[in-house]
């Protein structure tokens, strides 16, 4: 069933359950009052069978509809939570340069829960209150007391207005919270400076002052809500009295009077719930706003310069206009190079010299071009996903057979690892060198035309590194390889002996100088 119709069914069931719940009390009251009248007169023809049958029907309806609406509404809410999560994933996947911390993820997931549960906590009470009010008014008008129905309607509208007013004043605190967080970050970063001046007390006092002001603001909002809760309760108490007095004045029998009073009370109880529903609605809206801005505060990679061009036309990888920034140990300069298919380029530089940034920039730009070239980068912070070794390889190529995977592992000198071995959370079940080679195996599985490898020798001894890189070239004879290594080895053959076997024409690009 579609999420929308599921929710609609849930609403319907919730209304039914509430109607039965009000009905059972109203009918019982009517029955008790009618019995009192009949018991007082000597020869009464009053039969208790019909009303008690009605009570039984209502009871059954309340139990079954209550059960069904809980299950259906939860299903709809869960559906909505999943959809929200996927939307956040799509949003994150669509923006190139956002990285996520575990904590911000927790927050996003909690916000997704809030927006989903709003279906139960905000929308349902509103729908139920509206339908119950309409139904209650119609029933009372049919019983012949239009003034009482009018009183009831006015009281419900008054409650709704109180709830809405309180909710409106509960303005969005997410901006205030954002400012406060920035403030705290600044204070924490400024701590050594203030401590060196002996002024930490003043810094702490100011920070606490800001937090206190924020709490007072929240407390004021809470006071508004408390007034709305009390106000709504006062309105319903008054409306109940008016309903009883007006019904009695119009000469209602005692049974009708009790029925109208209990029906009114039931409907008004729903009106009181509007206050908390409005609060939940505001919270859901805030969670929604967080979700829309999710990831905006996360760390970002540097922008790519507009002069930068990278293309791969099947024969060569051409890079031009890359702006290498100045650092304390090096001048700024522009980088350009071409690497023909089947050849390799080795980029060297100490950590922080911009190797990874260069590799990422090339990958990003080429991937954005429409074309059939497959470009894959193996970066130092590559991630292994919870699951088996085979799962990780199939992520790159779902068509990989068991034999392909065994082959790939053997080529990466990982023949001792069974494809069904779980890698553990973040790959922690494997050693550093094994993780590295599994990254490579996974990259090879997608048969890239251009393969960029950051620190291919990290965590591997010289001979294994040589074997592994030779295997990479064997499996991808036509591919352009770009390798980034930590430093220019004094003797390339000693440290990086595989160089000669990678390609006849290999190029070096040093980022240090």
């Amino acid at each position: 069933m579609k999420a929308k119709s599921l929710a609609a069914t849930g609403f319907l069931l919730a209304v039914l359950a509430e109607a039965c719940s009000v009905g059972i009390l109203g009918l019982s009251g009517w029955f008790v009052a009618a019995s009192a009248v009949a018991g007082a007169s000597a020869y009464s023809a009053f039969s208790y069978l019909a009303p008690s049958g009605g009570v039984r029907a209502f009871a059954l309806g309340r139990i079954s509809a209550g059960y069904a609406n809980r299950v259906v509404l939860h299903a709809a809410a869960l559906r909505r939570i999943s959809a929200t999560r996927l939307a956040v994933y799509d949003h994150a996947a669509g923006s190139e340069d956002t990285s996520w911390s575990g904590q911000s993820l927790d927050r996003v997931m909690a916000d997704a829960d809030t927006t989903g549960l709003a279906l139960i906590q905000a929308t349902t009470p509103v729908v139920v209150a509206a339908v119950m009010t309409a139904g209650g008014c119609v029933a009372i008008v049919l019983a012949g007391y239009p003034i009482v129905a009018l009183t009831l309607a006015v009281a419900v509208v008054a409650c709704a207005m109180l709830a809405a007013a309180a909710a409106r004043r509960m303005d969005d605190t997410s901006r205030t919270r954002g400012l406060l967080r920035t403030e705290l970050v600044t204070a924490i970063e400024a701590w050594p400076e203030m401590a060196s001046l002996g002024a930490v007390d003043q810094l702490a006092r100011r920070t606490l002052g800001r937090l206190t002001a924020f709490e007072s603001g929240r407390n004021r909002h809470a006071a508004t809500t408390a007034r709305a809760v009390g106000g709504a309760r006062g309105v319903t108490a008054t409306a109940l009295l008016l309903a009883v007095v007006l019904t009695a004045r119009d000469g209602a029998t005692i049974a009708t009077l009790v029925f109208v009073a209990l029906l009114t009370a039931g409907v008004l109880a729903n009106a009181e719930r509007l206050v908390s529903a409005a609060g939940a609605w505001v919270q859901a809206r805030q969670a929604d706003a967080h979700l829309r801005s999710a990831g905006e505060n996360e760390s970002r990679r540097p922008e790519i310069a507009s002069t930068f061009r990278a293309t791969y036309d099947g024969d060569r990888l051409a890079v031009a206009g890359y702006q290498l920034p100045e650092t304390p140990t090096r001048e700024a300069r522009e980088i350009a190079f071409t690497v023909a298919a089947g050849n390799a380029l080795t980029v060297t530089g100490v950590s922080g010299s911009g190797k990874t940034t260069l590799l990422t920039a090339i990958t990003t730009v080429i991937r954005q071009q429409t074309g059939s070239a497959v470009i894959t980068a193996v970066l130092a912070d590559d991630y292994l996903f919870t699951g088996t070794v085979a799962d990780n390889i199939r992520l790159a190529n779902p068509a990989a057979t068991e034999a392909d995977i065994t082959d790939l592992l053997a080529a990466m000198a990982l023949e001792h690892i069974d494809p069904q071995t779980p890698v553990g959370v973040g790959g922690r079940g494997l050693s550093g060198g094994e993780q590295r080679r599994l990254h490579l195996a996974r990259a090879l599985a997608s048969q890239p035309d251009v393969l960029l490898i950051d620190e291919p020798t990290a965590g591997l001894d010289t001979s294994t590194a040589a074997d592994v890189l030779a295997a990479v070239r064997r499996r991808l004879p036509r591919a352009v390889l770009v390798l980034a290594i930590h430093e220019t080895p004094a003797d390339p053959n000693l440290h990086f002996g595989v160089g000669a076997r990678l390609a006849a024409n290999r190029h070096w690009l040093a980022l240090d100088r």
Partner: protein
């Protein structure tokens, strides 16, 4: 087993945080009980009016008064409950934030390096989750048994057989709870497994997003994510189906009680049944009306589950920040800086943050020459700031020694003994002069003016309407970030330290401002020892020595 213990510890810790707001929350519980009592009064009024009408008359003033009065008093009690809950909530949150601020901005040494964004999230957002939980559940837990007893007693007084029905129904409740527990347990393991799997998939997917992009697997991963979410949803629905079943049993109990009560009252009034005291419409109606109220607190308690989950999730993030910060909080008197020029000697220094396995610095030997500028360059995360913090005495090294050598001897570093300027200048409320005097409130006007001149602030101060006494706006508004940085230089100058430790002092400034600031810094630190961490080429080039920090140690030191 250990995870169970951790969970128990988290629960205990969570319970402990309620103390500061307990009194208000108990008042809220009292109000909640009063609300129940006044609602009973309201229904008494309704039954009274019904009796009046049955007796052939109009609603009496007394009856109407009790009906309205009960309702209005209940409204007041409801208001008071919400109000006290919110005050209690504020107390709990404030006490927790006070502890966090004391831990994050300690007066003594700072041993851990709190992640600023995470600490801010915990302080601003997660604290509220805990306070909300206490405000919601504590009053409920206290008032529920009292309210239920109250209604039971009133029912017993009005119509004892109706109370017997309630008693029978309540006997079903523990059974129902057991049933609910059994049902929940049965599905809980599957749900927990599916939940953990989804959490892992979600965490993996977002953490590994760059990798997914690199191997072109974003779309495939989305399918995995959707499938894991569906799995969780279907197990959750199974659990909810079972849990709702126990809710349905509860509904059966309530409806049965109402129906049984109504039938008993009706039949008594019709004269078919004769048990208990004389039946009247008043007694019968009242017993019927307050019957559903008896079960209300229990339903409310079941609804608080979600907020408890949220609060428990917030516990580790907050308690982690408080670990180790609440001991040794002795507020150290500030010891003035050492006289004369300082040389800093680091011998085989290593540093590891508590709880982390990887050292940040290892086997580091370095001499920071007196009266010279030494710049530290290196990639982000190489440990520049950590090195600076050891030199400045923010924290002691894990291994090796850091010493300040002066003409009078050698000493371990202490934070008040040097000047530190960071990336962000915090200006406190007050005038620009107050901000310069922060480190030396008793400094003479001549000294302050000297510092202002040294920091190149003289023009700025001359431009301000009231000179040094010009109050600064919120967060130092009215000054540019370059000018704010000069205030930092002036106050460091005024503290008269022989050693200056600068952590990226020109970050976030444009090139012109940076150039001017470097001149001001060189002026102000004439003859003093300066160590500065920076990414900025122009700042590095203006230093006397340049150190590259890489792979946890000093890679090379060159004379610029």
């Amino acid at each position: 087993m250990t995870s169970e213990r951790a969970a128990a510890e988290a629960r205990n810790w969570l319970a402990g945080t309620a103390a500061p707001g307990r009194r208000w929350l108990l008042v809220a519980a009292g109000s909640q009980t009063l609300e129940t009592a006044f609602t009973v009064m309201q229904w008494t009024g309704l039954a009274w009016v019904a009796r009046d009408v049955l007796d052939g008359g109009r609603p009496s003033w007394q009856g109407s008064g009790v009906l309205l009065g009960g309702g209005l008093l209940a409204a007041a009690a409801a208001w008071s409950t919400a109000r006290c809950q919110s005050v209690g909530r504020q107390r709990v949150a404030h006490a927790l934030r006070r502890r966090l601020v004391a831990g994050l901005l300690p007066t003594a040494q700072r041993h851990a390096e709190p992640h600023p964004a995470r600490a801010a999230l915990a302080t601003v957002e997660l604290t509220d989750d805990i306070a909300d939980y206490h405000a919601q559940t504590l009053p409920q837990r206290v008032s529920a048994p009292v309210s239920m007893t109250l209604i039971f007693v009133v029912t017993a007084v009005v119509q004892w057989p109706a109370a017997v029905i309630l008693l029978l129904a309540s006997m079903l409740i523990p059974l129902n709870m057991r049933l609910a527990g059994l049902f929940a347990k049965e599905g809980a393991d599957a749900r927990l497994a599916a939940g953990a799997r989804l959490a892992a998939v979600v965490l993996d997917s977002f953490r590994g997003m760059p990798t997914l992009r690199n191997i072109g697997a974003l779309g495939r991963r989305r399918t995995d994510l959707a499938r894991a979410a569906d799995d969780l949803n279907s197990t959750t629905i199974a659990v909810i189906r079972r849990a709702s079943l126990s809710g349905a049993v509860m509904d059966v109990v309530i409806t049965f009680s109402i129906a049984a009560n109504a039938t008993y009252v009706g039949l008594s009034l019709l004269g078919y049944v004769r048990i208990g005291a004389g039946m009247s419409l008043f007694r019968g109606l009242l017993a019927l009306l307050i019957c559903p109220m008896y079960f209300q607190p229990m339903r409310a308690m079941a609804a608080a589950f979600h907020s408890r989950e949220r609060a428990l999730a917030a516990v580790p993030a907050i308690s982690e920040l408080l670990v180790g910060t609440e001991t040794g909080m002795a507020s150290a008197e500030r010891v003035p800086p050492p006289c004369g020029p300082v040389t800093v000697a680091l011998d085989n220094v290593s540093f590891r943050f508590p709880g982390s396995e990887e050292p940040v610095l290892h086997g580091l030997n370095l001499t920071v020459h007196q009266g010279q500028w030494t710049a530290v360059a290196g990639p982000s995360g190489a440990g520049k700031t950590t090195l600076l913090s050891l030199i400045a005495g923010v924290r002691p090294p894990s291994g090796g020694t850091v010493q300040w050598l002066t003409s009078t001897g050698a000493s371990s570093p202490w934070l008040g003994g040097c000047a530190w300027i960071g990336q962000q200048t915090v200006l406190l409320p007050g005038s620009i002069g107050d901000n310069i005097r922060i480190g030396r409130p008793d400094a003479s006007l001549a000294d302050v003016l000297h510092a202002v001149a040294a920091a190149g602030l003289a023009d700025v101060v001359a431009r301000l309407p009231r000179g040094l006494d010009t109050p600064l706006g919120e967060g130092g508004s009215g000054l540019s970030s370059g000018e704010a940085r000069r205030v930092a230089i002036a106050r460091a100058f005024l503290s008269d330290a022989g050693l200056w430790v600068l952590d990226e002092p020109t970050a976030h400034l444009d090139l012109d401002t940076e150039a001017q600031l470097i001149v001001a810094l060189r002026n102000a630190t004439d003859g003093r020892t300066v160590i500065v961490a920076t990414h900025s080429p122009s700042l590095a080039h203006s230093a006397d020595f340049l150190i590259s920090l890489d792979e946890k140690t000093v890679r090379e030191a060159i004379r610029v």
